[in-house]
Amino acid sequence: MKAVDFDYAQPATLDAALELLAREDVMVRPVAGSQSLGPMLNLRLAQPELLVDITRIAELRTIRQEGDRLVIGACVTHARLEDGDYPDVTRGVLPSVAAVIAYRAVRNRGTIGGSLAHADPAADWVNVLTALGADVVIAGTGGRRSVPMTDFILGVFETALQPGEIVAEIHVPALSDRARWGYYKVCRKTGEFSHATGAVLIDPARGVQRCVAGATSGKPVVIDGPALFADGCTEAAMAAHLAGSPAADDPIALRTHTVALKRAIAQVMS
């Protein structure tokens, strides 16, 4: 189980990386922690001709506060987010989520940007950052643009990234001291990808009442407003929200998604 032969570059600057990624003569792909791409390469599910390693680009590895937002470089690892050596405007949400991604050895190398770009519907950041209302800053040779999470993840392994573009930053808005957070994953094993994810944020100061159903074999399903709170999170209600997703037609999956979200809601209500 070995990867196909490929070339590799490790540029030191973002511009150099974008230039390489813009090449059209080879099949080129960015790589960050290689914790998702590595297995795919070894299994030959991915067969690039050139890998551009973006982890040595200093600016992609920084975390800084900008007003009431936390700006996280794409190549910040899950482990660093877990350890919390930054002004955590999310009042513990980021470290607590990071701590339940995979295993420490994976978290030491896997990155937040790689996780979003990979866009596995079951991935933690995909759902959590959607619930938090984060924005993704995308960089390409043509410049930068900012895309809200809800428009960034388009489907299973599908994002708003265009060829040659990378995720540069993630902007996470601050939570107020009245914010409440609920998160529930249905996993059969510790560190395993989720089968159903519920993420819930209530932040009265920002007027946010948001539920996210994740790992639905599609993009995260966002349900804003109070409808699901109290006793509103029923299978019937969820069937309507999940309509169109495969999870809606499978009664067992529907049930599991309902329970995951119900339990996340229970955390904010308690």
Binding site: M1, D5, F6, Y8, Q10, V106
Partner: protein, 162 residues
């Protein structure tokens, strides 16, 4: 051979090594096939089993899904490099006393992961040890001996520190 071979220079178990590597060669294969450091084992090559866990700049990492070429300038420590490490020595002693290994195939990765738990989580109770170690699979021991061994080392360190 790969037409894309790259020259890297890194430290392996304290010794500087310069090598030409095909970019597709993962770090586990590089250590085993080129450096003959066969203590690092491969149990899946897709990041799940933990048998290949080594230290990169002191942090545990999967050598099967890390490419050697990406480790230019880094410091890599394998189980062979932990001979004189005090925590690893305590763990070896405890693994043996608690029967934390049978076939020994998972063991090098277990030691690297366990060492990290001992250092990072000195407060861990048994369920916390289990969660922290959950990235390493063993098919032989049923984990009881490994948990007991880590417990023993953490307790001894806490007693000595207190």
């Amino acid at each position: 051979m790969s037409t894309h071979a790259k020259t890297i220079s890194l430290t392996i178990n304290g010794t500087r090594v310069e090598a030409s590597v095909p970019p597709r060669q993962h770090l586990g294969d590089f250590l085993r096939e080129r450096e003959l450091l066969t203590g690092t084992h491969l149990g899946c090559e897709h990041g799940v089993c933990g048998a290949c866990t080594i230290l990169i700049d002191g942090e545990p990492a999967r050598s099967c899904i890390t490419f050697a070429v990406a480790c230019d300038g880094r410091s890599v420590t394998t189980v062979e490099g932990l001979d004189d490490d005090p925590v690893a020595a305590e763990l070896r002693e405890a693994f043996s006393a608690e029967h934390g290994l049978q076939c020994g195939f998972c063991t090098p990765g277990m030691l690297v992961a366990a060492r990290d738990v001992v250092l990072r989580r000195p407060d861990a109770d048994n369920p916390a040890i289990r969660t922290a170690m959950s990235g390493n699979l063993c098919r032989c021991t049923g984990y009881v001996g490994i948990v007991n061994a880590i417990r023993r080392v953490i307790d001894a360190r806490n007693t000595n520190a207190g």
